[in-house]
């Protein structure tokens, strides 16, 4: 191990203090590869029957341009930002929503204006101020911590196929940048945690966005649910359903047919159970009509509860993220409820949802068409993300009231991921594939109203740039996910995010 890397490893205080001696001895490239940390935490804990926790992964597909999610507002730094991003991408300083982090890293920041509130629809800026949201700077896939010099000198130490959508998505979801993917880190977490709930009626891993790598495990299979509930056999009810179940339950000499019967029966039974749990008239969150929401804070979705763009006031339907998060909230409610209350009685759940449209090589703002930099596809996406996440957090607060569990808000943590960041300079129409990206972590357990990691120097060709404004990450996905996984494994209602998260400084050259 060369000296520079040893020095960097010593800065990863949060992992060492989490008693993960294994991290220092496992492959330096991936702390979460074998999840010994999590395993140790699970072994040391006594997860009781009421100790419920859930993780929600919100995947922003395409590569989110987080350079406009959070913008430096100190005059010299804003000028650097503005000089390079003008005219296509630079958000006017007067439009930014100033935030007041409780920690100081020598910078000042503002959120994109579409992360604020409008007409009573609150957003991420409010959550940040309430201490329920944190920002992680410049996270990305890393096989080794890299300085710019090392990036240029040792191509073999870069994660393979940087700037490629599918490969980076895989590396984010597996947290293994240097080997062929076999499992996702969510799936590996589920495999470890499954032992605490061996009789769970529904899979620990649930996806609202179809099959994904994140939840691939060796023991626990992900269970796909639609935004309207479990997918069941259409038009098969009553006597016909009984007959179908009888047929599937027949003993068959053909092993394949026998297995098919078992899977089919399981799918039907699980779907029936899930739908009855979420729609239960007494304990569930049944929607009696399309105009009534489950909670008094509406989830953005279709009319009349649409996303409102704070800049233009225009409304649009959230076709994916709002309905997905709404169903996740319903499944969390059902998962946390006891079996006696027609729930699943689960202790741990992992959810995956996804929203696309972030691959904005063009149309990121309306400037190329003669419009404003404050409008365009990206502002709509931010408005949707902000209002949907805020509605989700509000739902968690109301579930806490419903279940008379004052700690409930600390049981659910949502976090964002994305393929990669985007280039700092515009390509004239939008932005192109980058690398390091800023991300959001939300929940009652989050040590919020803080920023973590190191904000990159906004200089093209500068010390944090590979070239053309692609930031070399200062925090590896590994570090990001290890903290989340540890939180999921632990019994304590802890604040996982602390100043111990390092990765904010580069190893000495």
């Amino acid at each position: 191990m060369d000296k520079s890397f040893a020095a960097n490893l010593s800065r990863r205080q949060f992992i060492r203090q989490a008693a993960c001696a294994a991290v220092g001895t496992t492959a330096l490239t991936s702390a979460i590869r074998d999840l010994r940390l999590m395993n140790a935490a699970v072994a040391q804990s006594n997860i009781g029957p009421t100790d419920y926790k859930a993780l929600v992964c919100i995947f922003l597909s395409g590569g989110n341009d987080s350079n406009n999610l959070i913008v430096p507002t100190l005059t010299s730094e804003y000028n650097s930002y503005s000089t390079i991003r003008t005219p296509v991408l630079a958000i006017p300083q007067s439009s930014l929503l100033p935030i007041s982090p409780l920690n100081s890293d020598g910078h000042a920041y503002g959120f994109h204006p579409c992360l604020g509130d409008v007409n009573g629809h609150n957003g991420l800026a409010d959550l940040f101020g309430a201490g329920k949201l944190a920002v992680l700077f410049n996270a990305g896939t890393l096989a080794y911590p890299l300085t710019k010099t090392q990036y240029n000198s040792f191509p073999s130490k870069r994660p393979p196929q940087l700037f490629s959508h599918a490969d980076q998505v895989t590396q984010w979801q597996t947290s293994i940048p240097d080997q062929a993917p076999l499992t996702g880190w969510g799936g590996r977490s589920a495999d470890l945690l499954n032992s605490v709930q061996p009789n769970a009626p529904v899979s620990l891993s649930v996806t609202l966005a179809g099959a994904n790598t994140f939840e691939v495990g060796t023991q626990v299979s992900q269970y796909s649910v639609s935004t309207t509930g479990a997918i069941t056999a259409q038009g098969v009810t009553g006597a016909r359903l009984t007959a179908l179940n009888n047929v599937l339950g027949l003993t068959n000499n053909n092993l394949l047919a026998q297995a098919y019967g078992g899977v089919g029966s399981h799918a039907i039974n699980t779907g029936t159970l899930l739908n009855s749990a979420i729609d239960d008239g007494t304990y569930g969150t049944k929607d009696p009509s399309s105009t009534v929401q489950f909670w008094n804070v509406p989830f953005p979705g279709a009319s009349p509860f649409q996303v409102v763009n704070p800049i233009t006031g225009s409304k649009f339907t959230s076709k994916n993220l709002g309905p997905q998060l709404k169903m996740i909230a319903r499944l969390i409610d059902a998962g946390h409820r006891s079996v006696a209350q027609k729930g699943f009685g689960m202790l741990r759940q992992i959810f995956f949802c996804s929203v696309g449209g972030y691959d904005l090589h063009s149309g990121q703002t309306d400037v190329p068409n003669g419009g404003s930099v404050l409008t365009g596809s990206h502002s709509d996406l931010f408005a949707e993300l902000s209002q949907c996440m805020w509605a989700f957090q509000s739902a968690m607060n109301q579930i806490a009231t419903k279940h008379a569990d004052p700690n409930f808000a600390q049981r659910v943590t949502a976090f964002t991921c994305s393929d990669f960041g985007r280039t700092f300079p515009s390509n004239g129409q939008g932005s192109d594939h980058g690398w390091g990206n800023h991300h959001l972590i939300m929940g009652g357990a989050v040590n919020g109203q803080r920023t973590y990691g190191a904000f990159p120097t906004l200089t093209v060709g500068g010390p944090d740039d590979t070239s053309t404004g692609r930031w070399i990450p200062t925090t590896a996905c590994d570090q990001y996910f290890a903290t989340l996984a540890r939180c999921l494994a632990s019994t304590r209602i802890i604040s996982p995010w602390s100043s111990r998260i390092s990765g904010g400084s580069r190893p000495p050259t």
């Binding site: 191509p155 393979p160 090589h361 300079p425 129409q429 594939h433 093209v460 060709g461 590979t466």
Partner: protein, 205 residues
């Protein structure tokens, strides 16, 4: 007489040697090869990638750093399984100074569609060789295709209509830099070049 002959021989040999030394010193160091392609040096820009038909955003970036010397003994032939090549050398700033091919001349009967297909084939060949397409900006991909790869293979040929402008960008038949959209390590999308729709839908390679 014999002595005289020997002296003359020595003088002749010495004279020839001396002339040779003088000639080498006066000539100075020369490149190892004089073939047209070897004289090409890809000099990509760091001013940002370009989409087809859209000029690069003008800015004043810091100068590109010099390529750092190999410090660990890692071989320059270390396979990278495709991906971003080593840092290209100092760019020429004038896109008009083509480093491969000519700004105004395409091979005879070379249609724009053929140029696009040949670009696609170059990427496919690279991907087959290194088990993954090149990724990065146009200049980075171009430099990888033009020899800055672990095996120093050049996949670009002027006979195929391949041209590299002074910014190190591979350009289409109209001189507009290609836009390479990396969908995955083995799938790169090349949107249709200008004029719009002239060559049909986007190519996947």
């Amino acid at each position: 007489m014999r002595v005289f002959v020997k002296i003359v021989r020595v003088l002749i040999v010495a004279g020839l040697v001396g002339y040779g030394v003088w000639w080498l010193v006066k000539r100075g160091p020369q490149p190892a090869s004089k073939s047209p392609e070897d004289s090409v040096k890809v000099t990509p820009t760091i001013s940002g990638s370009s989409t087809s038909g859209v000029p690069s955003n003008s800015l004043s970036p810091s100068p590109a750093p010099a390529k750092a010397p190999d410090q660990s003994g890692a071989s320059p032939l270390d396979a990278t399984s495709g991906g971003v090549p080593s840092t290209p050398s100092q760019p020429s700033k004038n896109p008009a100074n083509y480093v491969l091919g000519s700004p105004s001349v395409l091979p005879t009967n070379m249609s724009p569609q053929s140029v696009l297909e040949n670009a696609r084939r170059a990427i496919v060949n690279y991907g087959s060789t290194f088990d993954g397409n090149p990724v990065g900006t146009n200049p980075e991909i171009t430099s990888a295709l033009n020899g800055e790869n672990p095996k120093q293979i050049k996949f670009l040929n002027t006979d195929d209509g391949m041209r590299i402008n002074g910014a190190g960008e591979l350009v289409d038949a109209w001189g507009t830099p290609f836009f390479f959209h990396q969908l995955s390590g083995k799938e790169t999308e090349i949107p249709p070049p200008v004029p719009t729709g002239g060559c049909g839908p986007a190519m996947i390679c």
